[in-house]
């Protein structure tokens, strides 16, 4: 089963598609959660997901916007999609009938 942050990262990468890379994923997570996302957490989680075979990463092009430095591009694998779907379904199932606003 995925961890919460792993799920956030997979979802952000899936949403970004071909434009998924470190800084863009970080921005997506921060926008979605409203909390800062540390580079340390991001990159160590990327490594963990890659080791699990859920994502694939490679070095992308450099750009002037990044001071001529390359990007670490991310693509979610079929297994990653499967695990994220399982996580999402589990959250939906366990949340059924729960109304947090009334608690």
């Amino acid at each position: 089963m995925l961890g919460e942050f792993e799920y956030l990262l997979l979802s952000a990468a899936a949403r970004l598609g071909e434009n998924a890379y470190g800084a863009a994923i970080r921005e997506e997570i921060e926008a979605a959660t409203g909390k800062p996302c540390s580079i340390g957490a991001l990159y160590t989680t990327l490594d963990r997901l890659e080791a699990k075979g859920l994502i694939q990463t490679w070095t992308g092009d450099a750009s002037a916007q990044r001071g001529g430095r390359a990007r670490r591009m991310v693509r979610v694998n079929a297994q990653g999609i499967e695990q994220a779907t399982a996580f999402y379904n589990a959250v939906m199932r366990v949340s059924r009938g729960v109304s947090w606003s009334s608690i």
């Binding site: 470190g22 800084a23 580079i39 340390g40 990159y43 070095t59 430095r69 390359a70 670490r72």
Partner: protein
């Protein structure tokens, strides 16, 4: 070179490029960038330590390093005494436990221990994780 770039030297070159580029893109500079990179470096070192903690070589190396360091210190002193022993009273040196054969023996022990540490360090065949 700023502080973040200096700390980033501890990262794999490919990862360093990506991280520093991300920081430029996010507009993080100065202390903020330094803290971000330091956070990643600390996590990387902690992960390395956690994966190495069960490695007997780590403990063997740590066990060898302390006596090797002590012997190396004594070797430095012995070398100086051997070189200058004519200027000292032999009885006084003997009273302090100094003898040339013993000093040479300690030198060899020190060399053997340091060599063992170097062998342990260079026998690591693991590849970088990035």
């Amino acid at each position: 070179m700023n502080l973040a770039e200096i700390v980033a030297q501890m990262l794999h070159p490919v990862e360093r490029e990506a991280v520093l580029g991300d920081l430029v893109e996010a507009g993080e500079t100065g202390v903020q960038a330094f803290r971000s990179v330091l956070g990643l470096v600390v996590r990387r070192q902690a992960a390395w330590l956690a994966s190495s903690i069960k490695e007997p070589r780590l403990w063997l190396g740590a066990g060898l390093l302390f006596p090797a360091a002590r012997l190396l210190g004594r070797t430095a002193l012995n070398s100086w005494l051997i070189y200058n022993h004519r200027h000292f009273d032999p009885a006084l040196l003997a009273q302090e436990g100094f003898s040339i054969p013993r000093a040479i023996g300690e030198m060899f022990c020190s060399w053997a221990l340091i060599s063992a540490c170097v062998l342990l360090a260079t026998s690591n065949r693991r590849k970088a994780s990035f």
